[in-house]
């Protein structure tokens, strides 16, 4: 009885803490959209590399517009230092005709969804409770792709609030799309840095907002999606130089574990306009079409690179699993002889069931 009262006390205190503490103590301010929230990244010589409203963490990588790769080494408040790792060959020794098409036998189907539905552009509110203007960009991309004979499924489901569980909620939308076996899925966003010039570029005489590709580092499909991102940038660089701002490799998985052709696209930032983002959507649609379905006769090389990256990942998964199981068995058995006996017993009969449940 006394214990029950203690437990009731625990529950009450916890409810009070979690449901009142965040809003009262932390406040409701959204990080981003403000000058002071922008993280500025410099190289070791103090040269400016890039700015982002996405918090950077040590180990994050970035490939800039000119294909120079940087790795974040240290962070001091809103200033990060990154190591220049030299120029990256996006083509990996191939020419573009050998890269495409990645989905030659595909269904000509692409999926689009929006984890942060509320994202919008100025003038007007930068966040709209419900479907923000980022949804319009999704439809712009859809229309452009459909004009090229590609079928597009858009998931308009809401995943608000814009909090740490948004990607958890949007996984349902990503999974819905995966069920249709699309050739690629894209999660559309916009950045939140308040410097419009960071994202503005002139392409074919038109002022557009650049697109940043984001790849999640915490998922097993990293190497394959990385390959996809690099190849997309390579095609864009050739067709629309300056369209892709860069590739950011952030901490997180961004639901990219669900598909091997899955990318997060950031269309400009909240201080660039919807029209500028719509223009870049049309251009990237053309590049996606070229990359996935090809506008030339190609050989198998590009697809071979994708396979090679996949095999590397498989080797990692199997190694980690093997080491993990061995370590667990060693902890469990206390000696290597015990591990050997356990494996022998496992191989000798079906899955362990020692009847101790």
């Amino acid at each position: 009885m006394k214990n029950n009262k203690v437990y009731a006390g625990y529950i009450f205190c916890l409810l009070l803490f979690f449901f009142l503490f965040p809003t009262v103590v932390l406040g409701d301010d959204f990080i981003g959209h403000r000058e002071e929230d922008t993280v500025m990244v410099y190289d070791e010589q103090g040269n400016y590399v890039f700015a982002t409203a996405m918090g950077v963490s040590s180990g994050d990588r970035y490939i800039n517009e000119d294909n120079i790769e940087f790795e974040v080494k240290s962070i001091n408040g809103k200033r990060a230092i990154a190591q220049n790792k030299g120029k990256v060959d996006l083509f990996q020794g191939l020419n573009r005709t050998e890269l495409t098409p990645l989905a030659a036998q595909g269904k000509k189907l692409i999926g689009i969804y929006f984890t942060h539905n509320d994202e919008s552009y100025r003038p007007g509110p930068e966040s709209i409770e419900g479907q923000g203007e980022i949804h319009d960009i999704g439809y712009q991309l859809k229309n452009a792709l459909e004009k090229m004979g590609i079928q597009v499924i858009i998931k308009d489901n809401l995943h608000l609030p814009h909090d740490g569980a948004a990607y958890e909620r949007s996984r349902a939308s990503a999974t819905d799309l995966i069920k249709n076996r699309p050739d690629a899925i894209f999660d559309l966003h916009r950045d939140a840095i308040p410097q419009a010039h960071e994202y503005l570029a002139k392409i074919n005489g038109q002022l557009i907002s650049q697109v940043r590709l984001v790849v999640g580092r915490q998922n097993p499909n990293l190497s394959v999606n990385d390959n996809f991102a690099k190849q997309l940038k390579a095609v864009c660089d050739e067709k629309y130089p300056g369209l892709i701002k860069g590739i950011f490799y952030g901490s997180g998985n961004y639901n990219q574990q669900l598909s091997t052709h899955s990318l997060l696209l950031e269309f400009g930032t909240h201080v660039t306009t919807e029209a500028q983002a719509a223009s870049s959507a049309t251009m990237i649609a053309d590049s996606i079409n070229s990359l996935l379905y090809g506008d030339n006769i190609s050989n198998q090389e590009g697809r071979n690179i994708e396979s090679k990256n996949a095999y590397k990942t498989i080797a990692w998964i199997v190694t980690i699993l093997f080491v993990g199981i061995l370590a667990f068995l060693f902890i469990n058995e206390g000696s290597w002889q015990g591990v050997v006996n356990r494996i022998k017993s496992f191989l000798g009969r079906e899955i362990i069931d020692r009847g101790e449940k």
Partner: protein, 215 residues
């Protein structure tokens, strides 16, 4: 899809469902029952029940209904009222932890990207359940029902007009956080439990520790 990518996808699925099988095997289920439940989860992932249309509230059969039913079954099979109370407390604490983490990471994607919160939800469920119940079963219950409670709290916020959203319980099917959280929580409890027992030179001898001695 290239051959390499197809093999990669198959490898990932085998590892994931292999882990799921090991976890279900710990929950008063036989090997074949565990396999049957995995099949139900996979098939059920394609079906979603609409509970309410506006604001939208749905539950996915494979990602929501089956793991939740399983968690209630494990709860029902609790060995003692103490274990039952511990599990319920773990559920509430886990839901609170998930809410706290989701709030702390409210800028995730445009802010504090240290680790994907997805992993933290499961880890918090596993740690909380282990501390309270020292039990793999309590960990599964905390991981799954903790997420359910968090989803229901989100829907409450929608109903009361605090946020505009939709709630799809278990919407990602076999890959929903309800299942991932349950699986990781049990694996975590297993690793912590085994390590702890090894470090202290054998199984803990305390009574009424749920299933602390199960392997």
């Amino acid at each position: 899809m290239t051959i390499g990518v197809i093999i990669l996808v198959i490898t990932g699925l085998l590892v994931y469902f292999g882990a799921a099988h090991r976890v279900l095997d710990r929950l008063h289920l036989t090997d074949s029952m565990a396999l049957f439940f995995i099949a139900l989860i996979i098939i059920g992932s394609y079906f979603e029940l609409t509970i309410r249309r506006s604001p939208l509230l749905t539950i996915n059969i494979g990602g929501g209904l089956i793991p939740i039913a399983l968690a209630f079954y494990v709860l029902y099979r609790a060995d003692s009222s103490k274990e039952l109370i511990r599990a319920i407390v773990a559920v509430v604490l886990t839901a609170g932890a998930i809410y706290g983490i989701s709030y702390f990471f409210r800028d995730f994607g445009h802010g504090r990207d240290i680790i994907d919160p997805l992993y933290l939800y499961a880890v918090s469920g596993g740690i909380i359940a282990y501390i309270l119940g020292r039990s793999r079963r309590a960990s599964f219950i905390a991981g799954t029902l903790g997420f359910l409670l968090f989803n229901l709290f989100t829907y409450y916020r929608v109903l009361t007009g605090r946020i505009v959203s939709q709630v799809r319980i278990g919407g990602a099917g076999a890959f929903d956080s309800i299942i991932i959280s349950g699986i990781l929580a049990v694996l975590l409890a297993e690793i912590i439990g085994e390590s702890r027992e090894r470090l202290q030179g054998g199984p803990a001898g305390e009574k009424n520790r749920g299933d602390s001695n199960e392997k």
